[in-house]
Structures are given as C-alpha cells and as structure tokens.
C-alpha cells in the first residue's frame, strides 16, 4: 500500500490503476457488514435487486410477496448504536390498487433517471411505476409469467423493455407507446434471462429454458447468433494476450463503439427515428464473422439454430462491463464465460458446487470484471473471472440466494435470498480503517491532485468516489 502511494506520488502509477488497486483490495476483503442493516419489508424471497444507474444510491428490490421496495443505501434512516438501519423509502405490494398479484420476479430502474421503475411479475404483467407518486403509469399484459425484464443502459434511440417470459417469444415493450414493439421468436421454451448488450444498444441477449443463448439485433428479424458450448477457444481472445494489450483493446473498442453510437444516432436522426428494424450493416460493433453468417440466412443455419450453451435452462446472464464477455449460469450448475466477439466458450472452469435451477439468477461482476459473484444455493461465491477460482465464499443467508448486486461506488455487495433478507457485504472495517489511518498523511493531496487527469471512461469518475470519501480533505 505504501509502495503504491509512493509510486503514485512519483507518477509511476496511473491514477486509474491506483484507484483500481485500492478497489480490488477492498473487494477481496468483503464480509457481512455489521454496521449496515437493510430492514427488509418483504415477506417473500427477494428475487431482484438493482441500484439506480444515475446516482448509485437507490436500491430497488422485488420480492415474491408481490412487493417492491426502494432503499436509500447512502443515508441510514436511523441507527442503533453501531448499526445503521436502512428502511425502505417506500414499498408497493398487493395492497396497492394496481399492484401485482403474484411474485415480482424482476424489478429494474429506468436507466436514465430514477423517476420510473419497471416490475415484471408472475401475474403476467409488467408495470411501469412512477417513483414519486408510486402509481402505475404503463401496464403491459404478457402471455405468461414474466421471468426477467431488462432495459438497455446505453439506449438513446429506444425505450424498450425486453421481457423474458414463460412464452417462447421474447417481447419488447415500448414505454412511449405502451405496446409491444417486437416479438422475437426463436427459443423453443420459456426465456429465463434477458440482457442487453453493454456495447450496442440494439443487441439483446436472451437465455432460454431450452439451454440456448441467442443474440438478437432488434433492428432486423431473427437472431443472429446462437452460442454453442461445443465451439470453444482456450483462454481469452487468441490474438491479444496480456493485461495491457487487453486494456488497450477495450478502450479502443469502446472508443470505436462510442463513435459508432454517435454515427448511428446521427443516422437515426436522419431516419427521423423510425422503426429501427431496418438492417444496417454499417454498425461497427457487429463482427465480420457475424455479418458473413447473416448473409447466409436472415435467421440462421438450422444446424446452428439447434446449438445449446447449457444442458438445461439458462438461468442467468451477465455481460461484463466492457461488453466483450458474457457470463451465463445454467441449471446444469455451470457458469460459463463466452467471448461475445467470437461467440466461443472460453472454457473457464468455475468452481461452482451447485446452482439452483428453477429460478432466474442474478449474477454480478466487480468493476473491471475481475470477480464474478454468483449465488450458489445459500452462499455467494466470488470467482476470479479469468481463472474460475473461487476467491471468496460469503455465507450468511439461511436459504438460497437469488440475486447479487455489486455497487461499484462503495465496493459493496447486496444479496437477496429466499430467507427474505437483503444482506450487505462490505469491505471489512479493519482494512478500511487501516487504509484511512495509513492515508491520513500529506501524500493524499498528491493523490487527489491526480484525479483530475482525463479519464477514458466517463462513468469511472464516479467510481472514484470511495477514495474521496476515505480522505475528507479531498472534497
């Protein structure tokens, strides 16, 4: 730690990597937080957790008793001695006149702000709620139980809720019109998990109970890729090896994607924002291979169409922060890491023991995708993303865990389980205190001075918040 600080002082260490080191230190010491208690208002298992994407402050939870609640995780409602209690700001449940009747399987924030949130339920409905009035503003009726809903955090041209249901078709619900804009068919069974790509606003990834993971470009018909577990590559991306190279490539690709996004936005404006189903081959994100496949068939080759990625249902999907990898969890108790670019299984062996099979899982990754948090029955395991080694086993729940959520801002993990609890896992006090004590010297001015260096990612400014919190003079 001292060495890092000295290096930082000497300018040998980039501020970003310094911050990352601190953060990874903190992540590696996660443990059940004793001073942060979320008082769960739920009377059923907690199925979904999400922190809002704008402030990283409001935690939204959805539970089996058809209730959803919002917590302010930055400010405790009251404290009992050392223990800060976080009570929900509000909760909606069955008593609400437009509330869900059955379990809420998924609750997500509207990505742009915290004014709306979306809940999907087993009563076949998706509700869009106004946060401030806690009223339902839009309501979608779907043909089956809703397993998972997703909204793209990148989207600038559409406001679609992707809904995975019991039904074989994936539906995209348009909030602005209140109707289904797309019906994506291709799965042969219900769809348990839905995830938007982190690199392209038009790419949707769905995992079905038939074991297939499909990639959809919402601008054109059919899915353009089905992940096949037999197609594999060893390690990470073959041509590029090493950390720095990877880093560079990601930043490059990001830049590229950003520019492409800009382009496409302009394009869309030109097209007067019409329906985006028109295929556009100019999207830079789509790989060359993909385009060749697309040329073969508007859908896919039938042999490719049959490919499966898991034996059994795909219960969870998670795209890494840079959008280059996809993690999938299946009811075959496997966790798999896919290279989005090539569509290959990277053959990382995650040391999972057992995953539960009948419910959608919510996986989480730490920042810079070093760790994957996966619910393994009553425990949460943290795996090293690239080696698959389990580095942490967090046990505290008394029943199976359904969802994890990693807060990049505080390096905290939130988990919800069948025991109705929402637990907070935070870096151990000792290390925090140690760090605070150590950093309490003149060096810190230098560190903070370094933070105004231009940062490659816009969002990562806010990820430096903890270090600011740690040393008050920085503010």
């Amino acid at each position: 730690m001292w060495k890092d600080i000295r290096d930082r002082e000497a300018g040998k260490l980039r501020p970003n990597s310094f911050a990352n080191r601190v953060k990874s230190d903190r992540v590696s010491s996660l443990q059940l937080s004793n001073h942060k208690d979320i008082v769960s208002p739920h009377r059923g298992s907690v199925n979904s957790l999400q922190v809002d994407l704008t402030e990283g402050r409001y935690l939204l939870s959805g539970a089996s008793d058809a209730s959803a609640a919002v917590f302010d995780i930055q400010r405790a409602s009251h404290s009992e001695g050392l223990i800060a209690k976080y009570q929900c700001l509000f909760a909606v449940d069955k008593q609400h006149e437009h509330g869900h009747k059955y379990a809420i399987s998924s609750a997500i924030w509207y990505p742009i702000d915290t004014g709306l949130f979306v809940t999907g339920s087993y009563d076949h409905h998706i509700n869009v709620w106004d946060t401030n009035t806690t009223q339902v503003v839009v309501n979608f009726k779907l043909p089956g139980k809703v397993y998972r809903t997703a909204m793209s955090s990148l989207a600038t041209s559409h406001m679609l809720i992707a809904a995975g249901t019991e039904d074989v078709q994936v539906r995209l619900c348009d909030i602005s019109s209140g109707a289904f804009s797309h019906t994506l068919s291709g799965h042969r069974d219900g769809v348990m998990s839905v995830e938007w790509s982190a690199s392209s606003e038009w790419v949707l990834i769905t995992g079905g109970c038939d074991g297939a993971i499909r990639f959809w470009d919402i601008r054109r018909a059919g899915c353009f890729r089905v992940l096949d577990q037999s197609q594999s590559q060893l390690g990470r991306r073959p041509p590029i090896s090493g950390w720095t190279a990877n880093k560079l490539s990601t930043s490059k690709s990001h830049l590229a994607s950003q520019s492409s996004n800009m382009k496409s936005r302009i394009l869309h404006k030109k097209l007067s924002n019409g329906n985006a189903t028109k295929p556009s081959s100019t999207t830079g994100k789509l790989p060359a291979k993909g385009s060749t496949r697309q040329r073969l068939h508007p859908g896919l080759l039938s042999s490719q169409d049959r490919a499966v990625s898991h034996y059994g249902a795909v219960t969870g999907l998670k795209v890494t922060g840079d959008g280059m990898y996809l993690l999938s969890a299946g009811s075959d108790s496997r966790l798999k890491l896919w290279d989005v670019e090539s569509g290959c299984n990277t053959l990382v062996n995650y040391e999972t023991v057992r995953l539960h099979t009948n419910k959608p899982l919510q996986l989480a990754t730490s920042q810079d995708s070093a760790l994957v948090f996966a619910p393994c029955m009553a425990n949460i395991k943290a795996f090293d993303m690239w080696t698959g080694k389990a580095s942490l086993t967090l046990s505290g729940h008394y029943e199976a865990v359904n969802c994890c959520l990693y807060s990049f801002q505080d390096q905290e993990l939130y988990t919800g389980g069948n025991d109705r609890q929402i637990l907070v896992w935070s870096p151990s006090r000792d290390s925090t205190e140690l760090w605070t004590r150590r950093i309490g010297n003149p060096v810190q001015t230098k560190i903070t001075g370094a933070t105004d260096c231009p940062l490659p990612q816009g969002r990562s400014v806010s990820t430096l918040m903890p270090s600011i919190k740690l040393c008050p003079p920085c503010t």
Binding site: L32, I83, S395, G396, Y398, R420
Partner: protein, 669 residues
C-alpha cells in the same frame, strides 16, 4: 516445529473436549469444563483448535454428544471474543445441527435428548443475540430467521423481564395517582374533617365530664391500665362497652343512661375517625406532592388529632373499666368472657380453658371461682382471671402470670408459686375440679331447669353442705407400683457382647450379679479376691467354694455347649440345608392356613434360630432345634396327611410318581 507444537497443544484440548462430551449426563462435568476453559485461555491457537473440534463434534450423529458440545460452546461463547467470531462464521451450520430447522438435516437419534438440544439451542441463541447481537450480524440474522421466518418460539427472557418491569412501573404510577387524588381530596375538605373530629372530641369530653362528675361522688376504685391494654380487638372493646352499659343500667338510674348511650355512639364515631386519620396519615406520608408545605402542616395536625383522639379514647376506656369494676362489684352473676384469639378469659375457668376449651362454655353464674392454681399448667398467655368471689380482692396482676385467691395477695408470687407447684398433687382432670376447694354449699334441688315434680313437695332451698360435697368428691386413686429396674447380668459372652439376661440376684449361667464395667469385668473382683485370700476367713472360703462350684458348672456347660454345637452343625449340614427351604415354605403355608399354634411354632423356630448365638440359651435352643425338627415334621404330617386327607393324598401320590419321590426324599415335601 510450530505446527508440531500446535498439534501437541491441540491434541490436549481435543482430548479434553471429547472426554467432556462423551458422557450420558445432562451436563458437562464441571471439572472437565474448567480444564477446557483454562487450557483454551492459554493461547489463541488452542481456542481455534477447540472451535474446530467442537464444530466437528456437532456433526456427530448423536444428540447427546451434540447437546454436551453445545453446552461447551455456550460456555466458551460467553467468554471469548475470538471464539465468538469463529463460531459466528459458521453459525448457520451450528444452528442447522443444533436446532435442526432444515428439513433435510433433522436432529439425530435419541429423540428426548434431541428435543432438549433444540430448546437449549434456541435459548442459547436468544441469549447470545441479546448479549452479542450488536457485534455480530450473523447472530441477528440467525435469530431473525428462526424467529420471524421459521416462527420458532423463543423463551423471550429479556422481553418478559422488561414487560414485568413495565407492568410494575405502571402499577406504581397508578397507585401514585390514586394517592395524589386522595391528597387533592384531602386538601379540599381538610378543614371539614378537622371540624368534624373536633366536634366529636368535644362531645365525648363533655360526656366523660358528666359521667366523671357522677362517678367522683361514688369514689370509685382507681383504674387499672394494665387490664385495659389487653383489650385490643374492637369486639372485645365492644363487649366491654356492652358490659359498661349493663353495669350502668343496673348501677345507674335512668337519667344517666342517656349520657352513656351518647357516649357510646360518640365512641364508635371516634374509633372510626381514628381509623380514617391513620389512613390519611399514611397517604400523606406516601404521597410525593409538590405542595410540601400543606403536606407537612396537614401531617402535623393529623398527628396532633390522632394523639388527642388516643388520649380521649384511653380516658374512655378507663372510665369503661371503672364501670365494669363497679358492675362486678354489684352483681356476681355479671360475667363476660371472650374466647378470642388473644386468649383473654375473664372470669372463666382457667383450668378448663387451658385444658379443654369447649368445656369452658359453662355458665359462670353457677360457680364461683376460687381455687388454687397450683395444678395449673400455666401457659404464658395473657389470661386474665377475674375473681368474682366476694371475700377476695379481685386482683389480676403481674403481666401474664395468673394469680388468684389466697395466694394471689402475696407479691412474691413466682417463688411461692413454684414452691406450691412442687408439692401439689397431680390429679387427672375432671369436672370435680370445678368445685375444688370450694367452701360453698350447693343447692341440692336446683339443676338449672324448672321441672315440675309430682312426687311431692320439693324443697328448692335444700342445700348440701360443703363438707358433704368434699366427702362426695373424695377421689379414689389406685396404687401403682413402679417397676424396679432389674440390672442385666452383663457378663462377657464367648461370642462377644454382654449377657443381657435380667435376673434379680443370680444369673443361672454367670452366677451372682455384680456390677460390671463396659467390658463385663466385675468392679470389685480384686477386692473380693483380696478378701477371699485370707484362709482363716470363713466367709472367704464359702465364697471360694461357691466360685469353684460356679466355675465347674460353667466348664461343664461349655463342654456340653461345644459338643452340642458340633452335633447340631453336623445335623444341620446333613439335612437342614437341603430340606429347609422346602420345609419352611410348607410350614409357612400351613401357618397361614391354620391356627396360631403352628404360627407360634414358626416363630419359635425363628427365635431359636436367632438365639443360637447366645451361650445363655444354647442348651435350650439346641434341644428345641433338635426336637423341633421331628416335631414340626410330625405335626405337619399330622396336619397334612391327617386322617381325612391322608387317603386321598396317598392315592394321588401313588398315582403319580410322587411315591418314588417320597421314598427318595422322605424328609421333603
């Protein structure tokens, strides 16, 4: 190296813990527990090993082991922070194994112990949560989970205590409120209460004054305070007042009666006032009002009032006492006593009262009480015996002791009393005691009932003179000879112990009875020997002869005894041991079935069996034993194989193989 050492240390803890948990007791052996604690205290590594071992033991498939392990865990948990943090990490596992809340992991075999284990685990969890919950989220979680989700019933010790505390507080607050309201009420009508009491006081004083002015003219006997103080209970007082009334009615003329009536009324009122005043005072003492000034002043006034009330009451009672005195003086028949808890008898038969309370219920008028109290068992009760005898001065003195009659006049009561008690005759109690030492004539034809007799004229005034009564009452008593104690012989026996035979002069086995010490040696042998040694003493030679004779007799006896012993034993070994049980069973059956003779026979056998050890009865027992063997057999054979039953029995025996059996074992049944 360190690892080795650790392992060595760890082994010790492990052995200790395994030993402690390997028992069937309901708790861990305290010494082992102490040992574990002391070992674990020595180092952290030991503690870690202990925690690991305990967790391993919890996985054992036996509830008893788990239970004991849990007890050890609790002991360490309450003491060590490190241990807590170690255990808490695996708390869900621990709870699974101890509470057994998971369907797929039930508690193991002994069901009774398992249920104890579960309840204990829940209790411990609650305790841990209360004490350390704020430091360990896991504890809170586990507690919450079991309580709110699985709905386990927790003993809720702390909450219950808190609730009780709260209830008590509430009660106290309520009583305080009541006090305060009372206080406020008092504040409101303090003056009226005061005036009322004052008026009552004035009235009673006036009445007393009037009464006293009359009494003074009569020059009454001074009052006795001691008596009045004995009459605490209100009913007693009431009775006394009644008496007072009666006395007054008889004594005084009608114009006085009005005053006394009024006095009585007012007296009643006053006693009521007294009670209420006491209540008010207690209220004032207990209340915590802000208005202390009023409280103090009111308290002061109330105390004054109470004092004056008490004074007046005393005066009243004194005067009342005066009246009773006068009443007794006037009319002997006036009699009042109360059988109350205080045990105060007035004018009652104290003997009867002491001995048999129900018999006290006699009409006091028919007798006059004048008796010596020598034969009284005077219990320290506050009996007050009032003597109504005309010739005696009524005196009831000296606290609890009862004095009476002629002896009562002396002041040196105790010593005299004791002296008299010492030579007083002890006689059985009877109704004649009513007229003990009475010098009165008794009306012969008065029975308390008006009977019309048609057998001629009856002289109702006929009396029986006192002498005659005394003659009639002469008690006959039987002479009872008190048994002189006959000393035991106490000669040492061969088998140890002393001869317990009691003869007046000479023991048939040990010669003349002489005083002996604890070992049975005569005290004065040496002296007697010294006496006997001089040959010229005739007495000595006689004694010597006697002794020689005794010795010879004893030697002979001993030989005979030894011989017979041998004989007897041989016989017994030969026959008895084999047959005895059988015979005895038969005997017992016979005894149960038949007369006392056979049972007596059985007893005799038993006693002789017992006495076999004592040399004194050896000859007899041996003989009886020998005789008895045939005798019992004969008798029983007579009884069982008698004239009537023999035929049938024999037929049966012959029918079966019983005949052979009988031939083979002629002694056996």
């Amino acid at each position: 190296m360190i690892m080795e050492q650790d392992r060595g240390e760890g082994a010790k803890v492990r052995v200790l813990i395994e030993k402690a948990t390997n028992s069937t007791d309901s708790e861990v052996h305290p010494r082992l527990l102490k040992a574990i604690k002391s070992v674990v205290r020595s180092s952290d590594s030991e503690l870690r090993v202990a925690a690991q071992t305990l967790m391993d033991l919890m996985k054992r498939d036996h509830s008893q082991v788990r239970y004991l392990t849990l007890l050890v865990i609790d002991e360490l948990f309450m003491r060590s922070k490190l241990f807590r943090s170690l255990v808490v990490e695996n708390l869900d596992q621990l709870l699974t194994l101890s509470v057994g809340f998971r369907r797929d992991v039930p508690l193991p075999a002994p069901a009774a112990v398992a249920s104890i284990l579960r309840s204990k685990a829940i209790e411990f969890l609650e305790k841990w949560n209360d004490s350390f919950g704020i430091y360990h989220r896991q504890l809170r979680l586990g507690y919450d989970y079991l309580r709110n989700i699985l709905r386990f019933k927790f003993p809720n010790i702390q909450a219950n205590a808190a609730r009780r505390q709260q209830e008590r507080m509430k009660r106290e607050r309520r009583s305080k409120e009541i006090l305060l309201s009372k206080f406020e009420m008092l504040k409101g009508n303090f003056s009226s209460i005061k005036e009322e009491i004052q008026s009552t006081l004035d009235e009673i004083k006036e009445c007393l004054d009037i009464v006293h002015s009359k009494e003074d003219s009569k020059a009454m006997i001074p009052l006795d305070d001691d008596i009045t103080e004995d009459f605490r209970p209100s009913e007693l007082r009431q009775i006394r007042l009644d008496a007072l009334k009666e006395g007054e009615m008889v004594h005084e003329n009608n114009d006085n009666k009005v005053i006394f009536d009024a006095l009585r009324e007012v007296y009643k009122l006053m006693s009521k006032h007294l009670v209420s005043i006491k209540e008010w005072i207690s209220v004032l003492v207990r209340v915590d009002s802000t208005d202390t000034r009023f409280r103090d002043s009111a308290l002061r006034e109330f105390i004054d009032i109470r004092n004056s009330l008490c004074a007046v009451k005393k005066r009243c009672e004194e005067s009342g006492c005066t009246f009773t005195e006068s009443a007794n003086h006037d009319d002997k028949d006036e009699d009042f006593w109360e059988e109350g808890p205080v045990g105060a008898t007035e004018n009652g038969d104290s003997v009867a009262y002491e001995r048999k309370k129900e018999d006290v219920a006699m009409n006091g008028g028919t007798f006059t009480y004048e008796r010596k109290n020598e034969d009284l068992v005077v219990a320290p009760t506050s009996n007050v015996i009032k003597n109504a005898g005309t010739e005696t001065i009524s005196e009831a003195h000296v606290g609890k002791a009862v004095q009476n009659g002629e002896v009562g006049s002396s002041d040196s009561a105790p010593s005299l009393r004791n002296k008299l008690l010492a030579d007083a005759p002890v006689i059985e109690w009877g109704s004649f005691l009513n007229t003990w030492d009475s010098k009165m004539d008794i009306l012969a034809n008065q029975r308390g009932l008006e009977l019309e007799s048609h057998w001629g004229r009856v002289d109702y005034d006929a009396t029986i003179p006192a002498e005659k009564i005394a003659e009639l009452n002469v008690r006959a008593s039987l002479y009872k000879e008190d048994q002189p104690e006959i000393q035991p012989c106490r000669a040492p026996l061969r088998k140890g112990g002393l001869c317990q035979r009691r003869d007046l002069r000479v023991c048939p086995f040990h010669g003349p009875i002489v005083p002996r010490d604890d070992e049975g040696r005569p005290f004065d042998t040496s002296s007697s020997l010294d006496e006997t040694t001089p040959p010229d003493q005739e007495m000595g030679s006689v004694e010597k002869l006697v002794k020689q004779a005794v010795k010879n007799v004893r030697a002979r006896d001993k030989e005979a005894v030894a011989k017979r012993e041998r004989d007897k034993q041989a016989l017994k070994r030969a026959k008895l041991a084999k047959i005895r049980e059988h015979n005895e069973a038969v005997l017992r059956d016979a005894a149960v079935a038949s007369t006392s003779r056979s049972s007596g026979l059985g007893e005799c056998m038993e006693t002789t069996g017992e006495m076999r050890g004592s040399a004194g009865k050896k000859k007899k027992t041996l003989a009886s034993m020998l005789r008895k063997k045939t005798l019992t057999k004969d008798r029983i054979s007579q009884r069982l194989l008698g004239i009537r039953s023999r035929d049938s029995t024999q037929r049966q025996l012959t029918l079966s193989q019983g005949a052979n059996y009988g031939d083979a074992f002629p002694n056996q049944w």
